[in-house]
Symmetry: C2
Amino acid sequence: MNLWLNRLTHDVPADLKDPVQLACFELDSAGISAELKEDASMGDAYRIDPQQNGVFLLTGGKTGLLYAAYRLITARLCGERTDVPLSSAPKYALRMINCWDNMDGSVERGYAGRSLFFDNGRIAYDPERMLTLGRLLASAGLNVLCVNNVNVHDPAQRLLEDFLPDLASLADLFRPFGVRLMVSVDFSSPLRHGIPTADPLDDRVRNWWRDTAAHVYAAIPDLAGFLVKADSEGRPGPFSYGRSHADGANMLADALKPWGGYVVWRCFVYNCRQDWRDTKTDRPKAAWEHYAHLDGEFAGNVILQVKHGPFDFQVREPLSPLLLGMKKTLLAMELQLAQEYTGHQIDLYTMMPMWKELFEELPADNIMSVAAVANFGNDENYTGHPLAAVNLYTYGLLAWDPETDAEGAVARWARLTYGFAADQEQALVSLLLSSRRTYEKYTAPLGIGWMITPHDHYGPNPSGYEYDLWGTYHKADRNAVGIDRTHDGTGYLDQYPEDFRWKYADPETCPDLYLLFYHRLPYGFRMKDGRTLIQRIYDDHFEGYDETVAMASVLGTLPFPEPDAAVIRERIDRQLYNAREWRDIINTFFHRLSGVPDAHGRTIYD
Amino acid sequence: MNLWLNRLTHDVPADLKDPVQLACFELDSAGISAELKEDASMGDAYRIDPQQNGVFLLTGGKTGLLYAAYRLITARLCGERTDVPLSSAPKYALRMINCWDNMDGSVERGYAGRSLFFDNGRIAYDPERMLTLGRLLASAGLNVLCVNNVNVHDPAQRLLEDFLPDLASLADLFRPFGVRLMVSVDFSSPLRHGIPTADPLDDRVRNWWRDTAAHVYAAIPDLAGFLVKADSEGRPGPFSYGRSHADGANMLADALKPWGGYVVWRCFVYNCRQDWRDTKTDRPKAAWEHYAHLDGEFAGNVILQVKHGPFDFQVREPLSPLLLGMKKTLLAMELQLAQEYTGHQIDLYTMMPMWKELFEELPADNIMSVAAVANFGNDENYTGHPLAAVNLYTYGLLAWDPETDAEGAVARWARLTYGFAADQEQALVSLLLSSRRTYEKYTAPLGIGWMITPHDHYGPNPSGYEYDLWGTYHKADRNAVGIDRTHDGTGYLDQYPEDFRWKYADPETCPDLYLLFYHRLPYGFRMKDGRTLIQRIYDDHFEGYDETVAMASVLGTLPFPEPDAAVIRERIDRQLYNAREWRDIINTFFHRLSGVPDAHGRTIYD
């Protein structure tokens, strides 16, 4: 199964050594005549010049030539015109995929089966699936693959020591696709090697990491670098030694610098043992508080990887203030393809519209890279729900060019994958583009988040996190709901630049869908369209379920091939059940609190 | 560790064959001169006649003589007078312990370590601990031990076939203690033996069970019988074949009758896939609806084992209506020593006061036996919390004589176990007697139940079961809380006799602590003492925590020996944390709903 490359029926040979060879092979197999001209200075960039004789002149770096080849091939498959010159260069240098795969073969927050890379405590994979995955990533323009979970458990803690030869073989497999491996490392590693500390300013520690880096790069010279989750949710980090995260990251950066590697340092640090009674602490403020003051202190090969929102991949969150504020630091924005809070790849949730909203707020030059938590596993179709593959593909297009048009990208994926007739394709594309808003409507309302089943993160539980340790509270009572995060409330909004604050500070002008993220409001609050807040909550939930029914109906008319058709049927049935539970439970929850009946007399269960 | 028999420092030899031998051994070891006169017709009953020469004349059946011996020994240890004649007979023939032990060694709802009887898929035990357990049970007057979980998983499904010799050896070990084994069986067993059905009216099925019983009784001639959980929470049963539970139970009864065995048939049948929107179904009605109409249809060796309340071992439930209504059926009342909903043997919860309340409502002759889910496991102290052993001991006293005085029973346990000075003993006894009410105060209010963490059943979660499939809802909203279970509500109360109904039907006269079990009431409802319902909820919760603080303080003054002292300290600290969470979460939950402040200005967290 080749997903959006299904129509490439020729298999990639395993013995290709570099992207140029692969480009030639792919073009040749697709029956495209091309002349390839390598210009190393162009790197990932490329130019395509159609010649009079039907031959295409492709110019680019090694990887640029490969991207050009896929561009030509997919344009052909999509029936797009190829008779005009074209040049392209990626906006972001590192277009990363983070796999949360554990070496026991499980995938943290994975909804598409087990790991493609690990099983039973060792590196274990199907080489053919690796070639397919490489091709999928390359054709989507993705170029970094971090294979192991940021929560580095044993034996992944020994990945660089005990499993290096196997890791190098895996790197060899992905090299022709222009995909470089990255590895999540455990900050406390020196402790397992006879060094009594992991203090980043201790010379023994610094030397151990330098030696380790040298050793690793001897085996994998193009390793992209190390990914680190430190001092977060129980992971070790520099705080244990009274050092800053700049100290910690710079120490690793020093070790990687000779080899051109990056330290990708995650900024997901917050108090995960918060007392729910504590109203002083507001979790969304945590990342800024931990990192903003360090701006300018990080080495030139340290990238801070910041989750797109200040919480944790909720359906709707504002852009993280860190992404707007750290001008002297290399930043990557972290997205999550895995549908942790967004339907477990059971419910449809096409992310492109959400990402486009993020880039509306984020000056594209603020960041230098993007990363996304993978949504694939060893399910036959790779992504659990066949339609979830749209998120992997369009993430690649967006990582290449954040100005990519959402509808065009989704349509491109649909056309490559299914090649439906035009009206059917349009129906599918419309459905996918609206699926995020539909999911948003039937789940937690207006940016409030977290009304989800604890731990599992699928299905409704309005107060499941309300009295817990995670800092995620809505404090709904009989009069009002939400947390005031403005200057007069927790002060979270003060972390933003002036123009951003201005947009959200006043509930009268704050965009509706962020209203309950920023404000605590009474149920009778008048929305801009004249409806009350409570009526808007009810309306969204009734609409969300109705839209799901309509989606199911549309899906039933589309000629999906098997086995996709059967899986899609099974999943939409589960989504319908889930959407109905969400609708009724959220409406009942707010009805019990507010006592306000639905203005249209629809059923809310007491 | 011999718990309440700690001062018996002599070990029971493993080679004793019958209760009379054991009685002689125990008396002899304790330095008591006695003459034993067996009267088989007396069974468990006994008479103790002190003679002029300091010798006691004991008369009774084999087991009666053993019980007499323990009575004399414990009376001596407690410093009670033994110079007057005394006779005693148990009220209930079967005084049963149900272990929910799985053959993998886990214990369902076990809070005292792993199984004492099983490990790793086989029967595996420490013979010395078996002798201690036998002695503990016999000294408490308990005489039936069902060793395996009522949820009969593989390989326990093959206990009677593949493990019979080991089971017989275990029965041999317990025989001198007057303790007969019982076994939980899987109703669908014939399906695993080449019979295509488990239909209780099918001759092949009936013959298979007859043959199996004959085979089992050849190995264990005094087996007490079979315990069955059928058509409940996923277990197989006669419903699969369109047969009634009388058909199912009577079929097994027929197989056991030649050997004098009982079928103990559990009445825990309800819809565990209820839609929370469904207000017609009221789970407490289920047992009555399933069984009451079968009264008179069960064979003479079928005992219906009925949980004491209509739900599932909540802190406060009314007596099950089945226990009042089935006059033509042998009944056993089922209690739960394991503190599933009552603090996991972390929080103190002495059950005797609860049991006494049940017997106030239950004419003692309505039932012919009692059963209790075990609270012991392979923890060194057997019951996890050393003070939880009081429930095992006093259950035995109550099963012998339901008129046993609560304070006297607890004091007897305390004196045997710790032998404190009088004022310390009194402090401990008072604390234990009040511990259930304290736990009740800080948990779900006034009989409403179920505001507990789902699945795990420890700690507060006010709406954890509110939108789930288990039929356990409180439907608290901004105005009111509770379910109306009177004639005008779900009609549950109609299942009771007239005098019982009369007592609970009117919220003005219904005992406070059952108020929210039977009624849906507004927060402003006036309690009999003039307080509002909401104020009563707040008061109970503040008091519950304060009483826990006081308990901790008292415990700190008592001279517990090690290792008990350390365990008690550790557990009371956890109880303090738990009680504070309960207090604040329940108060906040109701405050957010009602908007009513505490009349005394105490802190309720918004």
